[in-house]
């Protein structure tokens, strides 16, 4: 079981990977520890400096759309953010999140606001989020099959190190 507590940092719809970290920044380095100072700068230049370890990104539709670049995920993790809660995710961002151990929670975020106190819980395949400020409990689509295996390994790196191949989840 994974349980995270934190504070909501609110963004809108269609936050693309270029907004998360611009291509121009990553042409010189892919070191997420360096890049994290520019996290989401196009949308909010002051955001990166204001991030606290336990923050969670909350967004609207189609989070992580656009380019498939994976630094968009590793930069978020490097900033100390361990979950993104969105109305919906772009496909490649969702994959990259799972593969790196960032928890993508898909649920109705309409009533979520900046600063809300949140808790995210992954129990087996069941994924839920509690918003204490708004007194809401929501569940996301379960994380099934090999995706859960990968997430429980903390990402694809450890999974492949241990198993040397992909395989269907043991039932």
């Amino acid at each position: 079981m994974i349980r995270l507590e934190g504070r909501a940092r609110r963004f809108g719809d269609n936050v693309n990977t270029d907004y998360i970290i611009t291509s121009a920044r990553k042409r010189d380095t892919i070191d997420e520890q360096v890049l994290k100072q520019w996290l989401l700068e196009t949308l909010d230049p002051a955001f990166a400096a204001s991030v606290r370890e336990e923050d969670m990104i909350v967004a609207g539709e189609n989070f992580g759309c656009g380019s498939a670049m994976e630094v968009a995920v590793t930069v978020i993790l490097a900033a100390g953010i361990k979950a993104v809660i969105a109305q919906s995710f772009s496909r490649t961002f969702y994959r990259n999140a799972i593969n790196n151990g960032l928890i993508p929670v898909q649920c109705d975020t309409n009533r979520f606001e900046e600063g809300d106190r949140l808790s995210v819980q992954l129990d087996g395949a069941e994924l839920s989020v509690a918003n204490y400020t708004k007194e809401l409990t929501l569940s996301g689509p379960p994380i099934a099959g090999v995706m859960l295996d990968i997430l429980e390994h903390g990402g694809l790196v450890r999974f492949i190190r241990e198993h040397r191949r992909l395989m269907p989840r043991e039932q």
């Binding site: 907004y19 994976e70 994959r95 992909l166």
Partner: protein
Amino acid sequence: MDIAERKRCVDIAERAGNVSARTISEKILSAKAGREVHAGEIAICTVDRVLGTDASGPMAIDYFEKMGGERLFDPSRVLFAFDHYAPPASAKTAAFHDRLRAFATRHGAELCDVGEGISFQLLAERGGALPGSLVIGADSHTATAGALNLFATGVGSSDLAAAMITGQVWIRVPESIKITLTGTRTAFLSPKDVGLALVNAIGPAGANYKALEFHGSALGAFTLEERMVICNLGAEMDAKASIFPSDNATNAYLTGRKVGLASPVTADIYAVYAREVTLDLSRLSPRVALPHAPDNVVPIEQAAGTPVHMVFLGTCTGGRVRDFHEALAALDRAGGQLAPGVQLVVTPASREVADAIRDDGTLARFEALGATVTTVGCGACCGTSGVIPGDGMNVLSTANRNFKARMGNANASIYLASPAACGASAATGKITDPRAERAAR
């Protein structure tokens, strides 16, 4: 009968062995998973081709090493292209290239260095995009290759690394959206217009977790390379794959290129789709995507007259031979000169394209007009190589994305249109309907 109910009936019929009711995606992924899989299931599939770029490759090497990778599952199936940073604009970028070169050489992967072209374009040109195959590429526009009747999908660097080691990828089998193209293609109707109209109709996330599968009587109106434009724009709807059937155009393209066996795949007539969209080409007209989203699409009449300061002809959407021909022809019809103050940037998508337009004199014409012709590859598309627009500039581009800061400057505005509209607008200095420029003169 609604879709859910139809799906239920078909499932029952299929389980009883009475009927086969699969989409192209389900068929290809079943073949690659070695078992029957349906939309919604998670399949572990074997991949036929793995593509990396200079943008995603260095990170993939990091993952490869962290995963304990020692060798490629099959070096002949792995291709790296230096397209996003061609040529490298800094010592640090050059160092990424060196690292990737060393990796490809050590492991025997195919390396397409600076000046060769965009990854999936090269795969197609070199005959590696075969009907029925599964291609993964660490680039969101990998689905472009689906024009050749295959399942090609964009992944990140970690998936790329895992596939380089194992030859496998995990895939949630997508539902498909059936797109039927009907009617007669009118003069000046570009596949770019068709793609933009679809992005607008389906929305930026409308194909999220889904594949687009193309059908209809009008498919034959598009050459293979034009189909690539339509498939390419699938990424702007977040489609997992965009797939055309295999036909004469497919065979014509593959002749003389093909490496390996083609296994064309057709959808079953009872296949169940998440959604069906029909587009009548007879009623479709040129389109423009306004800043700062590719789905912000209007008929070109509504954008006509907007001042244009830079015209960009290139990218994996609009950087092929026919695109340059159409742009130049429209530019000529609209006066044959660049309007004062317009900067024209030309970037072929591959060396094959560059050679073709050099041989037929097109490139010389662009140069004579004063165009900036940049190195083959992605060029100015994502602000990493080539020309960056200045503050307050309006760019009209043949590309697929116009996000804020996409070309390297958040204070520029990017409009997307067909090559013909771009060519005509370069001559007039304002967004110009390619059908109307003769009348305007």
